[in-house]
Amino acid sequence: MPPAASAPDAAAADGDPEAAPPVPTYRSLAAPVCNPVDKFALLPAFLKVRGLVKEHIDSFNYFITKGIKNIIQANNRIEARSDPSIYLRYKDIHIGVPSLQVDFRVENITPHFCRLTDRTYSAPVYVDIEYTVGKAHTLYRKSNFIIATMPIMLRSYACVLNGKDEAELARYGECPLDPGGYFVVKGTEKVVLIQEQLSKNRIIIDTDNKGRVIASVTSSTHEVKSKTVIVMDKEKIYLQLNRFTKPIPIIVVMKAMGIETDQEVVQMVGRDPRYGDLLYLSLQECATERIYTQQQALRYMDDKALPGAGNIKDGQAKVLLRDVFVAHVPVKNGNFRPKCIYTAVMLRRMLDAILNSDTFDDKDYVGNKRLELSGQLVSLLFEDLFKTMNEFVMLRMNKNSDMARSSPLDFSQLIQQDTTITSGLERAISTGNWDIKRFKMHRKGASQVLSRLSYMASLGYMTRITPQFEKTRKTSGPRALQPSQWGMLCPCDTPEGEACGLTKNLALMTHVTTDQEEGPLMNLCYSLGVEDLSLLSGEEIHAPGSFLVMFNGLILGKHRQPQRFANSMRTFRQSGKIGEFVSIFVNEKQHCIHIASDGGRVCRPLIIADKGRSRVKEHHMKELRDGIRSFDDFLRDGLIEYLDVNEENNALIALYEHVDQDDVERSSITHIEIEPMTILGVVAGLIPYPHHNQSPRNTYQCAMGKQAMGNIAYNQLFRADSLLYLLVYAQRPLLTTKTIELVGYDKLGAGQNATVAVMSYSGYDIEDAIVMNKSSLDRGFGRCIAMKKYTVITEKSDRIAKPQRDKDGDLIKQNMRALDEDGFIAPGQIIRNHDIYVNKQTPKVATTAPGTVLTSRDYRDSPAVYKGVDGETTVVDRVMLCSDTNDKLTIKCIIRHTRRPEVGDKFSSRHGQKGVCGTIVQQEDFPFSERGICPDLIMNPHGFPSRMTIGKMIELLGGKAGVSCGRFHYGSIFGEPSGNADKVEDISHTLVKHGFSYNGKDFLYSGILGHPLQAYVFMGPIYYQKLKHMVLDKMHARASGPRVLLTRQPTEGRSHDGGLRLGEMERDCLIAYGASMLIFERLLLSSDPYQVQVCTKCGLLGYYNHKLKVSFCSMCKNGENMAKMRMPYACKLLFQELQAMNVVPRLKLTEG
């Protein structure tokens, strides 16, 4: 943008108090007017086009539009072994509309239908084929031939929801706020989590566990995957490759690849004498081995190679060098030169690292990471299954062709019968086990059930990134916050405990790239002056001033004017000539330009600034507000571009255009952030004033926000989740953030605005407990609905019977009172513990002769009995009948329970401050102000000093100002300068204006005695979340109850009505105390007492013959020396088990 264009704006700069110093200098006059609030409009525009989980959908879209075609193209022909002219060729592939085949009829399906009927939301995969049949080789062509059905990601191109507006979505039974990006497999929603990996095909310089410097490359192409390691051991450099038995001196490898002179090796690495010094010992070692020629080198390597196919070692080295050693560098026509140069570059970088330890690569650096998304994972799976299917079909074809057959051979029939792909895809997504032998991939838990506990929980799932390496290691490096995460990954949202810092979440504006075509980009590079390496000598490669150009990890060539090259590439990108996600990164340290177009890089949009002046002007923003301009137009016009983590290193990014930084020259600023609040992710974005909180508190809230009850989706009442917690009166927070509005948390809130008094009350508020106002609870505060699904699957032979009645019409069994006349429970009925909800009957005999009619007498009752909490009123919400995939009748009963908060229920504010309800107090006992305000809950002030959650205090102030002036206040992170967060000063003004004290404290009277409280009390509304942990689900006690069959000890766990264990430590206490009788009682009498007969002579256990009323020792064959004693049954069992193992435990009794 020419400077003249902003001249009219310049005058107005004086109006900006922050940008204008007292004396107008050139800089202040030239400062363009950019009202900071306006820039914000870009964020909703961005999310509108991109959605919250676009990375998932994008990657799946890439797979179904491009990836799948490439796979077919690469394996497009199968032929019979006996007669190669009998073949089948895949010409094209595409995905149809999600549908279902019912009785030879195709029905289109919707995701919600699949959720309710436990089906897979999948679409047929059509191929266009061409094949020959029979001896005559008649050529047939078929289009729209179904080879499989594939699970479809919601809201992808193949999904019926794609591009639908809110009304249409509602008609499909779908929530418009649901982001999509997951699959519905067998009725459950499955997310394929984003996987984090080290980037492929890149040189990583690191030290191994012995402290040696290594350069490693994980090569990955469609054909092979290999890992090449070059290691410096005792100042000599070796190649480590798992196909060689021993490390090979690197010079030998170079020689084997045709660089026979030492001089050329050194030249290729670089002429700096220090390199020569470091290479000296390696060169010498090669010479002592008397290896001078390529032949000698190859022979040397052949000896060290693991034998290949046919146990042949000869020539193996060359094959390995070609196919395994840095496998991603292609060897065309036996030309090893690119590989030599690549090795030399690896060596050079390694030596650099030895000379200067700054140049080590950081494995935790986000730029060295790639994110693998569902599209890529499904693509791998599909490729494997497709190949498996083809092999299988060929196998069967070959088998058949050997036999004499009446019908002609036909590939298409075989394919039609095959269900490898359909079942393989469904199985992998539903179990999460990605076992692909072909690619040596064995991953567990790649897909997980989408948690629908709260809206935030499901959004959080969609942005979650799981690590590849094991979580048990106590390393701190990968867990630490990386500076390069800025703006890409959320700094707050990570779980506590073992996965802390390893599991991450995407930030709000992050985009994950998909693969882009390489060919045109390479050509463009060459035409922009990249010199091909094949034309250069080793000496010239590292000529000073010229930079190597690396393209997706390959060395493309070198360029003499790197900066100019980079600039022109970037201009191409900004003008939309090349993909917007191509990254051009100039690495000054390595003298390299890295161009990347591969998938899985994280990047984010930034406003381009020319010498510190934003390209986005007021008129652009006006066009955006008027709806003329969309976010994509900004991209297309080169106002905004995507930078990935590497390219960010070439940029200087200002937070705001109008704020002068003292230490940064304005003209050096290249980009401007769209909004500083996008540094956080979705889940952390709902914390108000997070930048005023102690950092771990925000992390805790991120974990807790996912457990909060609230509204889940607009279609929540039509869903059939196995467990659903809803809040009766969910509210939107009084103190919101911009993120809340963007993600729709204001529409699907998970909490209520409670008036909180920060004071001590009653002593039932210690240790973070909160005191609640009974009247508030009466009026609906914290009231929630728990809906639980009970499923009954009937067999074909089962029947549902009417409730049995006697002749007066009274029920025979009282537990059938809730049943309707059809034998199912009636919706709206109150159902109590032990009530029957499906009156099912099963035939007494499994198989009957065909044609026999079963009468009632042939059936026995097998009812489904409700197991609930005694004394609670639960109500039947819905009964749903459907037939499952095996055509069995499935009955789903949804039972609803409305609960009001009770002592022990868990609540939390949005600042990681959780607490249980300590006591519930009558309203008249609660403190009140002279305005008549009475808090809903009381929180102990001790919660503040150690937690340092200043944000919560500001939330209270802002909330109070909000209710008094009738405007929602904002608390977005770092929002004060841009007006996205209200300042405390302004809030205080508002408070004073409405007759409150500026500091938010009120003068309260005791509700019990009526006297004024001694101190002013900090009181105001805070958004409180009710968490899913409720005492009702947890409380448990038992007197006597079920026992385990084997040991006769009480069962374990609440679900089995188990006993409460008196454990080792408790036992130790009792021993120390000397309470022997108590131990005796607990460990024997209350557990598993048993009377045994012991033979005092042989010390073994005997038995008691009840008929003869004598005890008998089966060892001594008499009953003379028998004694009775009591011992735990488990102990008796142990003795018997020992005996079974030929160990004789003998009891020596002191008194018989």
């Binding site: 919400d877 008249e924 305005r931 008549g932 009526g1010």
Partner: protein, 328 residues
């Protein structure tokens, strides 16, 4: 307070001065008594003055989006005119019935039947329109007001007679949805459930005793006075435009926030003002839900309080406390 000598009676004679009395709002002074008395009155008003509220709901048909318990809870919270509540029986004490609503002494039956017929419009089921009482004495408060208005008794205190009087929204029905139910309202007290509490706001404050040190005040300039006056978040003080003297315009607006005192100290004039709470006089603010008028609420509260005191006195006599037993 002076401590009376032994043998002297502690009896005091509280005075009440009504400042303002509207249908659902009252402001009065209570003088010559102590905080315990004032607080007892407040507590009784909130928790122990009986009203009538829907307590039992029998749902015949509900195809609305809200579930049965949800609607029942909402119905319970609708204030019903309860002027007759003092004379009614608690259904647990009622020997004429077993609390099923068939008894006129303890319960009132309500009916609600609404169905959204084939119009595109959402039907709002409200307390005014749809909730039908079988007893004209007990009905939703907004119905009662409508009735009064129809009779021409326009509430003189109603600030906005043309305002939104659609009643309390119970549920919204979409086309084809239906809600039919029978509800029984019973007498109860706020202690058992907040729905029976007739009080929306009951609060009192100590009457402040504000003394300006006029001499010291005169040492201030007009600007200083203005800034001092403005330091109070509530409008307690004013400057007389004629004499430019600081006057106490509304002592009860003072919220005991000490802001003016701190300000005076900050200005270097400690003792500029002295504010004390008069410990024996209180200003009450009472707002009702409409179930009772403010007057009824106060009077009933006093009655209940007296009954309770009687009960205490009669405790030795082992007398039948009647329904008061519930309160003890």
């Amino acid at each position: 307070m002076e401590r009376p000598a032994t043998g002297v009676t502690y009896q005091r004679f509280p005075r009440v001065k009504i400042r303002e009395l509207k249908d659902d709002y009252a402001k009065f002074e209570l003088r010559d008594t102590c905080a315990s008395m004032a607080n007892a009155l407040r507590r009784v008003m909130i928790a122990e003055v009986p009203t009538v509220a829907i307590d039992l709901v029998e749902i015949e048909s509900n195809s609305s989006v809200l579930n049965d318990e949800f609607i029942a809870h909402r119905l319970g919270l609708i204030p019903l005119t309860s002027s007759a509540a003092m004379g009614m029986r608690f259904s647990r004490d009622c020997d004429a019935c077993d609390g099923d609503g068939s008894c006129e002494h303890c319960s009132v039956e309500f009916h609600l039947a609404a169905r959204a017929t084939d119009s595109g419009q959402t039907l709002e089921v409200t307390s005014t329109k749809d909730l039908r009482s079988t007893d004209p004495k007990v009905c939703p408060v907004d119905q009662a007001r409508e009735y009064q208005q129809a009779l021409g008794n326009i509430d003189p205190y109603d600030g906005d007679p043309q305002g939104d009087h659609r009643g309390i929204l119970i549920v919204k029905l979409r086309r084809g949805q239906e809600l039919r139910l029978r509800a029984i309202a019973r007498k109860g007290i706020g202690k058992d459930h907040a729905k029976w509490s007739p009080a929306a706001t009951v609060t009192f404050m100590y009457e402040p005793d504000i003394r300006i040190n006029e001499e010291l005040m005169e040492t201030l300039t007009l600007e200083e006075k203005t800034s001092w006056v403005e330091s109070s978040p509530t409008k307690v003080f004013d400057i007389d435009p004629n004499t430019q003297q600081v006057v106490v315009s509304d002592p009860e607006a003072y919220t005991y926030d000490d802001e003016v005192i701190k300000k005076a100290e900050a200005m270097g004039k400690p003792g500029l003002i002295e504010i004390n709470a008069k410990e024996d006089s209180f200003v009450f603010t009472v707002e009702t839900t409409g179930a009772l008028t403010a007057y009824e609420l106060i009077m009933n509260a006093i009655t209940v309080l007296r009954q309770k005191l009687d009960a205490v006195r009669l405790q030795d006599d082992d007398a039948d406390l009647g329904e008061l037993g519930a309160h003890l």
